[in-house]
Symmetry: C2
Subunit: 210 residues, 2 copies
């Protein structure tokens, strides 16, 4: 296949982005392993600073490991709720913010801050670009999953230090995000937080010039 | 358009990811403004923590502003070169790592760490997810540009504090990356750093289970 793309493809790409959601409500039927492997292949095509490819993935499968992560989420979510005031707190408490109790596939994603790959190129003045590379890879993975009808929910309501301890993660690995993956209960082109009235998307991108 | 995608679309999506490059060699002919605006529209479809949409964009257009950013890059690149040893340094010095002297469109991208949008949801225990949201949005933009035949080069060899000062950026804005955009001199499915022998991509994704 060449590097040329048609107007029809671009329209479908826009639709893919419109229908990509952060999913928190999953059906419990399993994701075929070969399908998951095919989607994970998108990591190899992701941009990374200096070609450092610093992404590291732990599949969280055992009931023990999942229980520790779910406890972590519940404690962090209680603290986050305590930080919301008045009507916000009531509204917050009614939101479903993770599918960690149900999602058939769960991945903890890290950035290896110590990797020698790429020989430091591009990361000398901005070492955070290694973590950004992992985020870019997850973004591609998200799109590829959605193109297969699969949903991804990115959980950030977690204590990273506790998660790294509980999962016995190497010292140099920074926690980036916890991904819940599975078949979504429903499909929608509007974010759940918008449907629930928590926040709405901007209508236009603001840009200044220098 | 629905949220259903065909095997043919998925194949073309994989090709798009295969042909997306970090571009440092641009033709100097301009990018039509309506095309650029259409591509920038992808920011509105990006995921963001709590729907906070913290991306802020400065278009760097004036010769004065471009000159300051290019000086910044050259100084940071000299420091990065000084940090490479022996053969690495020679090899590093021969790489072209930015198109800032030529690219017709240049954008400095920031994250507004002070935004009230999203009411802090999802960012209490991991405030860095705001910056990650900006990275995800840039990743979508990158794909949409490439689908139009346009190239993007993400420059991180910069001193963020100096750049924020030079461009008179609000205090709460964190610098994420400097994007060079234009028509690429050439198209390739292999990263330039790999073609130049600096680093190669991994052949498989490593994953452990917990």
């Amino acid at each position: 296949m060449s590097g040329q793309f048609s107007p029809a493809f671009r329209e479908e790409l826009a639709a893919l982005m419109q229908w990509r959601r952060d999913v928190r409500r999953f059906r419990t039927d399993p994701v075929p392993e070969d399908l998951l492997a095919r989607c994970l292949d998108s990591f190899r095509l992701a941009p990374s600073v200096g070609l450092s490819e610093p992404w590291r993935i732990l599949r969280v499968d055992s009931p023990a490991a999942r229980g520790l992560c779910l406890d972590n989420y519940r404690a962090a979510n209680d603290r986050a709720l305590a930080g919301q005031d008045g009507n916000n707190a009531l509204h917050y408490s009614r939101l479903k913010l993770s599918g960690m109790a149900e999602a058939p596939v769960q991945l903890a994603v890290f950035c290896d801050e110590s990797t020698a790959k790429g020989r430091g190129l591009g990361a000398a003045s901005m070492p955070e670009t290694r973590a950004y590379s992992v985020v870019g890879a997850v973004t591609l993975f998200w799109l590829v999953l959605r193109a297969e009808g699969l949903g991804l929910g990115w959980v950030s309501i977690l204590d990273p230090a506790r998660l790294r301890r509980d999962l016995a993660v190497p010292d140099a690995w920074r926690f980036i995000g916890y991904l819940c993956i599975g078949w979504p209960e429903e499909e929608d082109s509007v974010p759940e937080l918008e449907r629930e009235g928590w926040e709405s998307r901007a209508t236009a991108l603001q840009m200044e010039t220098r």
